[in-house]
Symmetry: C2
Subunit: 454 residues, 2 copies
């Protein structure tokens, strides 16, 4: 979809930057579902094991598994996690925290900074959103249900903590923790560059700082960079947010490729894939019989905000002329220049349902674009694998998602089993942090009602 | 979907045979649409050029372009086209016939056997369905509007012509033309092996015969094998027909891979891809919020016929108890063991609409499976590229569909331009066969209303 949008603009037929790095495909099913969630797929990427949907770097028995990031750090590498979601979200969490349920983000925050973690601090750069899980209850926007000030703890553990673009632009000492938003960072289309850096800027800053920090070292660095919000745009069936986060992902990939080319004194391999598809996005409707189809990327031209942002604006709007307001201030900035009267009526009916209105607005544009969403959730299709740099060609072809961790471990000469053993020895930590606490639902494997019963 | 069905059966997490041969991706857009049709994509594969949807081995100006099959034959290779569609359908046609409109299958039949073709006969093996375009009007099931007996002409041109399984099983002299059905061959799930060979059987017979015929030659052979009916199952939104034709495609790919391994005296490269996706098939619905999903391949277990076959049986059924009949004889063999009363009512309402009922029946099973179809037509997504054998690794990565012809030409050391020139010199042939005839609509480039106007 993003490529076709570019082609509409410049009449080219070339690929995107990622197309030039395409090397294979990844199978994503989890241990208890053909359709994986983010934490189980990220656990395959970090630990090299299949686990159940919802498990964060734990196996089906809810025992912790050592990750490539932990193994790299213990071997002397420097490490980083750079995302546009909350830093406590499933994907980054699965590289550094171990817990039976991805929703326990207050605990994940503490593990990430090395506080509630038996290996101590293992990550040198943490950047993303999600400040709300680091501030004690009662403070503005806090998501915690306790009085723990995780930012204060992070400072005690040596982190430079910052929350603003101005500090991001400065030269910073490792380790650092940059949290730019309370919740997820903005979709690229909505981002205010004065407040939040782009994914590309964060990735390149991370690479530069990790490179400098390991220049004199025999070991190098490991960093996981996630264009997290592509998934959220899929969940919201928002083609505009999706398009612009994909384009930013392409800019980040292109910048990292260039960075690798410019740093041949630090031989680096870049591997990129998705944890899963989201939304069941397909391109094109048939028009009264083949071979004529409707797929019109030009309808993106006037679309300048995400449905998430516009749905909030619509909910908060106070006006006596709702129809006029929604036409001018909601449909129009989303690129829907001439909504039908029926669409305007439905918008008015959904004014107080931000998620319902968001999906509706996405659908209105999707119909004009000729794109189709099958689901508000993930799908079971394979995801594409990209690679660049040292030895990336060794990972060409189709792989199970667990092989991603194996490839990374091989490149960095890491052993994950000793890390797993070390983690599992700490039984009191496991009882208090990894396993369900008294009164909590177990959330064990097998929740997917559709799995094999034959 | 096919892999997950296998996984449900054996609890494995391994790939399918094709997964082991996955090497890249193909971009498919045509010259006048982001969503290609089969003839324009096949023309990219055969001639290495972009053309408009509907054009068969012609450019945007409806001038013929030389194909890899024609170039191979003229260089001394032996050639074959083996498909499960009508042999006159867009994909095989685009390797050997040149015409402005894919629907002109009566003319395509004549070009394919080398009759209405300036290069004469260039294909040594033709197998598939589509006999109706080879028999004169007035004979049973004929699709021709003239008195031409193309089978008699084929015999005159040297072809062994056969229509039955028994002859297929014999040793046959090249060239031969095997047409097993009037229309397309059966979906694999419906196929009667006493009447029609499988795709795998046809492919291996073709390889063996081309191998024998070129054993003493300095040149080898070129053959295009198409699992044609996967696309038709997509157009019909029939998950069962789709699954079983994909499984048969896997068997054929596996058999060809094995054949290559066993014939290292005839170094062979196998490249396989689709001309386009069809149906916008995605896997999985969300259940009351992630991370729980519904995707249940076990619902395939009782599904034993295509919707095409069952829709015809339902149309032809004569019974006084329609509800009972449709439950027992239509829903049940499709694997829908307990249709709702509403589903039974709708089936009765659609009794005389075979295509409408077919799509409805596919939808009933798709909902139980948790699979989703976005369209009754093609989509613009990239298709997967598979490769095996000599130099296949040179074609790894993502490519535009025109590069498929370039790769084949390079492997066989073919030049397409001289073929194109030779074809274009024959102006009377072009006037009478390639271009629209007096009174016919021009069907020129630009029919896709959604293309760029900016």
């Amino acid at each position: 979809m993003a490529r076709d949008w570019i082609h509409w603009g410049d009449n080219s037929t070339e690929g995107l930057p990622i197309d030039e790095m395409m090397i294979g495909q990844i199978r994503t099913r989890s241990s208890d579902s053909y359709v994986t969630d983010s934490s189980s797929s990220a656990t395959a990427y970090s630990c090299g094991i299949k686990t159940y949907n919802g498990g964060v770097a734990v196996n089906d028995d809810q025992e912790p598994c050592g990750t490539v990031l932990e193994a790299a750090k213990l071997k002397g590498f420097m490490t980083g996690l750079i995302v546009t979601s909350r830093i406590t979200h499933a994907t980054p969490a699965s590289y550094i925290a171990h817990i039976y349920d991805r929703d326990k983000e207050a605990n994940i925050a503490l593990q990430e900074i090395g506080y509630a973690h038996p290996l101590g601090r293992t990550v040198d750069i943490l950047m993303g959103g999600g400040k709300c899980f680091f501030t004690p209850q009662g403070t503005a926007s806090s998501c915690r249900k306790d009085n723990i000030d995780a930012l204060a703890i992070a400072r005690t553990l040596g982190y430079t903590v910052f929350e603003d673009r101005a500090t991001f632009d400065k030269s910073l000492k490792l380790p650092y923790l940059g949290l730019f938003t309370q919740d997820h960072m903005s979709f690229e289309i909505d981002r205010d560059p004065k407040k939040e850096p782009s994914l590309t800027e964060m990735a390149i800053k991370g690479l530069n700082d990790l490179y400098k920090a390991t220049k004199e070292s025999k070991e190098g660095f490991f960093v996981m960079v996630e264009a997290s919000r592509i998934d959220h745009a899929g969940h919201g069936n928002d083609p505009t947010a999706h398009l612009h986060d994909i384009l930013e992902y392409n800019r980040a990939m292109n910048a990292m490729r260039k960075w690798i080319d410019e740093h041949d004194d630090s031989p680096t391999v870049l591997i990129s894939t998705a944890d899963h598809e989201c939304g069941g996005l397909t391109l094109g409707y048939e028009l009264d019989g083949a071979p004529e189809y409707w797929f019109a990327p030009q309808y993106f031209a006037g679309s300048k905000n995400s449905t998430e942002k516009l749905a909030r604006a619509w909910r908060d709007a106070t006006t006596t002329d709702l129809a006029r307001y929604v036409r001018e201030n909601i449909f129009k900035p989303y690129g829907v220049m001439s909504p039908t009267n029926d669409e305007v009526s439905r918008a008015i009916g959904l004014k107080n349902s931000t998620s319902g209105f968001g999906v509706f607005l996405g659908q209105v544009l999707s119909e004009r674009l000729g794109v189709h969403w099958a689901s508000l959730g993930h799908s079971a299709v394979d995801v594409t694998l990209y690679g660049y740099g040292v030895n990336h060609e060794d990972f060409a072809g189709q792989h199970d998602n667990t092989e991603v961790a194996e490839f990374v471990a091989k490149q960095l000469d890491l052993k994950l089993d000793p890390i797993t053993e070390k983690l599992r020895k700490n039984t009191s930590w496991i009882k208090d942090n990894v396993k369900p606490q008294p009164g909590e639902a177990p959330k064990l494997k097998g929740r997917d009602v559709a799995m094999h019963h034959h």
